[in-house]
């Protein structure tokens, strides 16, 4: 039984179509991340699920029951906002217990629930404070506690970590993952941060211009991006995208020598067709004499040591390529090198519509 089903949801503001038919079905216990840059409609979709906005068309079901038209409080959801939206005039304990208070849960039961939740989030010592006296991370925990305490069927998160500094964000990310594993709740999580999406999600929906560009597990999104947009959005540093041309049974990248096309792409071959080649920086290695795979001669431009890896920028003809090499690689700027990568790491996209040419 699906915990949450989004059926052909559309949203129009006047002539502007923000959502153009979204379909997602979510099993109970899934962690769905809506990933996209700002303005792609992901927050609108979340607000529609929460009942803070009404869709122009389509339907939403929670536990097989349509919730369109239902008041947010009757949807069996809880939401964590980007700004936390804590009640500044109430203590942390009352903030967490507010939902139960409004639902007329007896005081003793409520206090126990608040204490248990606070224990789970390690904020028992903060219960008497006001939100204004808390740090960003503590406020975040209170906001999560407020959602947890009600034990709803679906949790909604609207960019909950984007107001935290980098270190705290990593901690809270781990914390969220821990909570999800512990409680097995169903979550819809909106973010523009691909690392958050990759680490937290059981499934990612990459959104763009009101459509779902690709819906899949983090591995699928990373290993088999369906479009150029997804390929460029997920992964850091970004996937290298190079202009190339199909020649009979081979592939020529910007005037360099052609190499034979791997089996998997043979069906896509039309000589002279223009394509985009994608290869992740972490798939590239420096070629030694005996190595197999696809070879790319390049001239080194810049090396940046990040610690765990040496991020190297090089030039292939007129195009730039980035490679993540082992940190102790010795290279000279300006020197000519040959990169190579496995056939399995090759991605091909249609140059016009950006769709992947990988036979599926």
């Amino acid at each position: 039984m699906s915990a949450l089903e989004i059926r052909n949801i559309q949203k129009r503001y006047g002539d502007v179509e923000t959502l153009k038919g979204i379909n997602i079905a979510l099993e109970s216990g899934e962690f769905l991340v809506l990933l996209g840059s700002s303005g792609c409609g992901k927050s609108t979709l979340l607000n529609i699920i929460a009942g803070l906005a009404e869709p122009s068309g389509g339907d939403i079901l929670i536990g097989e029951r349509s919730i369109l038209g239902a008041h947010p409080k009757d949807r069996d959801i809880a939401m964590v906002f980007q700004s936390y939206a804590l009640y500044p005039n109430m203590s942390v304990a009352r903030n967490i217990g507010f939902g139960l208070e409004m639902r007329k849960v007896p005081t003793a039961e409520r206090e126990k629930a608040v204490r248990d939740t606070a224990m789970l989030l390690q904020i028992e010592n903060l219960l008497d404070r006001k939100p204004g006296q808390l740090s960003g991370g503590q406020r975040q925990r209170v906001a999560i506690g407020r959602a947890l305490v009600r034990n709803p069927r679906v949790f909604l998160f609207d960019e909950p970590l984007s107001n935290l500094d980098a270190k705290l964000r990593m901690e809270m990310r781990t914390e969220l993952k821990r909570l999800h594993q512990l409680l097995g709740t169903t979550v819809v999580y909106v973010t523009h941060d691909q690392i958050e999406a990759m680490t937290l999600a059981t499934r990612i929906a990459v959104m763009r211009d009101g459509r779902i560009e690709q819906l899949g597990t983090p591995e699928e999104i990373y290993d088999r991006p369906a479009t150029l947009y997804v390929a460029g959005f997920v992964g850091s540093p970004q996937m290298n995208i190079l202009d190339a041309e199909l020649t009979g049974s081979g592939l020529r990248i910007a005037g360099e020598e052609a190499f034979p096309l791997p089996e998997t792409f043979r069906s896509a071959v039309t000589a002279g067709r223009r394509v985009k080649v994608g290869v992740r920086p972490e798939a590239l290695r420096l070629a030694s004499a005996d190595v197999t795979g696809i070879r790319l001669p390049a001239s080194i431009e810049v090396m940046e040591l990040t610690g765990p890896e040496l991020v190297t920028t090089a030039r292939i003809g007129e195009q730039r390529i980035t490679a993540c090499l082992p940190p102790r690689t010795s290279l000279m700027p300006g020197s000519a090198q040959v990169f190579c990568f496995d056939e399995a790491a090759l991605h091909l996209f249609d140059a016009e519509n950006g769709r992947s040419l990988l036979a599926r």
């Binding site: 947010p72 409080k73 906002f81 700004s83 939206a85 804590l86 005039n89 507010f98 939902g99 409004m102």
Partner: protein
Amino acid sequence: MERQGPLFTAFVYASALLLTAVVLAPVIWLFVMSISPAADLSAKPLNWWPSEIDLSRYRTLLSAVENSAGAAFIASLMNSLQVAGMATLAAIAVAVPAAWAVSRTPAVSWSLYAVIATYMLPPVALAVPLYMGLAYFGLLNSVFGLALVYLTILAPFTTWLLKSGFDAIPREIESAAMIDGARLDQILRLLTLPLAAPVMATSALFAFLLAWDEFFYALLFTSDLRAKTLTVAIADLAGGRVSDYGLIATAGVLAALPPVLIGLIMQRALISGLTSGGVKG
């Protein structure tokens, strides 16, 4: 700034002193006048400092003997308190829902601009229609009638102030409360209004001052002790054949006291309301 020269420090102090002097000079002169003997005030050249302290006028104005100047003054003081108080309470009562509605529904904010536009009309333009209206309802020379007129002045103003106060409260807080299951009245009572309290206090104080100081409508729509307000009573003191400038000054000092007291009591709320920094997400 960490480093400042002595000249700069002197300049800062001089500026502050100048401002203080400019602001306080009229008030101090008002007070000095109120305790100067009549002879000092009519002397030529003027005696800026009283030869002796004369508190008789305070006794005159605060005496409760019937039909005395004091009784009239105290009656007008009471009228002013009633009119300004009622108008302020009514204005806040009207403004809170209106301001909240406009703040949360930007699509109808034009209506607030339309109301503010009526502010551009000079009071003279409205005097005759208002007079006829009040006469029809038998509300001339009545504190209720005057309070009603003041309400029309105060409501747009307080709505405007409160709207900016509500704007500063994140809507997400209300959304969160909605998801938490709070009804609209609970959201307003438990969250929005407590968070807007500083702004409400500021609006109320300014509204009260506006009503307290109003002269034109009060002069037109009141005629005797039943409804005359302080501003009109003070003008009456100057209207006779012999004007006791000291008495006018004394009335002025006494008239200034209630707003000053309210201001002092609400000082903290007022300051946080004026800076709007009181609301944090």
